[in-house]
Symmetry: C2
Subunit: 236 residues, 2 copies
């Protein structure tokens, strides 16, 4: 056993563990979009809580791209919504993105006191596991949830990461639970996630295609790391 692994199913449960790496997970869709943006050459992603903060950042620095959602939809005056497919290389390479979402950006802020804060989703799960294998002090997988409530897809992503680390991790009850959940769901992952409340809402407002994309495992190799309020690609 080389690392302790814990999972928090909702941000409210999260206890600051300053010696840990906090792994923030918001599969549908914030951390998937953040990972894809960074992977596509975005210089920095700045998560902010409020729409007004994002608009103010553009006042200061007119070159930034504004992205995010409220009620899953594009915010008036913003450039991009919260669909990971919008954060293409053509759009984000070399640019800075200010992003505000309902759950993911709040969870990132909640984790801010951890030794290291990284963003994870299915698309970069393999890279996150490689990072955690080399970390000291353990990892805490923080599910963003949906409006404070348990979110199935985030718990399943935590479960994928926990499953893959079971050979080296001393797992908490919630980590054991998440790993079992992933193992029980993996053969029908998309079908199960599509029956979740958040996925049904996304499909209803026209984002069904995002769900399949957000569940794709190990698409990219980047690990976005949060430092001084800004997410960038992990150096190395």
């Amino acid at each position: 056993m080389s690392i302790n692994l814990d999972v928090w199913f909702t941000p409210a449960e999260y206890k600051d563990e300053q010696e840990q790496t906090a792994v923030v997970i918001d599969v549908l869709r914030a951390t998937t979009s953040i990972v894809m943006a960074i992977s596509n050459g975005c210089q920095a992603v700045i998560p902010v809580a409020q729409v007004e903060e994002a608009l103010a950042q553009r006042e200061v620095c007119p070159d930034v791209i504004l992205g995010g959602e409220r009620g899953s939809l594009l915010i008036p005056g913003f450039d991009l919504g919260n669909s990971p497919r919008e954060y293409s290389r053509e759009v984000v390479a070399g640019r800075k993105v200010v992003i505000t979402t309902t759950n993911g950006t709040l969870a990132l802020r909640r984790a801010i006191k951890a030794k290291t804060v990284i963003a994870a989703s299915f698309v970069n799960a393999g890279a996150v596991c490689r990072f955690l294998r080399q970390t000291s002090g353990g990892g805490g997988l923080l599910c963003a949830g949906t409006k404070g409530r348990f979110s199935l897809e985030d718990a399943l992503c935590a479960g994928l990461i926990a499953s893959r680390l079971s050979d080296v991790a001393a797992m908490s009850d919630t980590a054991l639970a998440a790993a079992a959940m992933y193992q029980g769901a993996q053969a029908h992952l998309r079908e199960i996630v599509e029956s979740s409340s958040h996925a049904r809402h996304l499909a209803a407002v026209g984002f069904a295609a995002d769900i399949a994309f957000c569940l794709t495992h190990d698409v990219v190799d980047v690990v976005p790391i949060l430092a001084d309020g800004v997410l960038k690609a992990m150096p190395g």
Copy 2:
């Protein structure tokens, strides 16, 4: 779909749903002991929060048996601990038991406003499922947890019940998660539960044998139902 099914992983998350049947689950060991006591002819189980309440009840009614635990151990002055194997027919038939435990009796009290409150564990899961299939208004599976925290064995028992009702239930995200968790864990259920924090504690204080017993599925057919503060066998 005939019933709505929800799962609360901790009592703190539980929202009163007065139209629902609340199914209180404390596998290790309170609801397993309660189910076994009722199955063995115990006339009534009275759950109380405090040791002093239990002692006071015996002052009023010297004939009652006092059972329960603090720190998993027998409470000084009590007749029985919290091991389901203690609640045998020889000991409890025709008697009333006042019980106080760290998690299970608190969860029963938390659920008290629900239309119907029943006690469940692996040992009576089949009977609970049969009851829920006939209920109207849906079911909420309330995991007692351990000192307010997520408890693996309770979530897995909720998952067993949710799995078995998947043909008739409209499931919440947590119900889907619990069902997937059970499906992922069932082939190694005992091994996984034995690595949980509560099970390791129980084994350390001499109750390893209880764990195997508490995970046995469908041992008895009774459904304890709470009415006017007292658990009795469901009539019928």
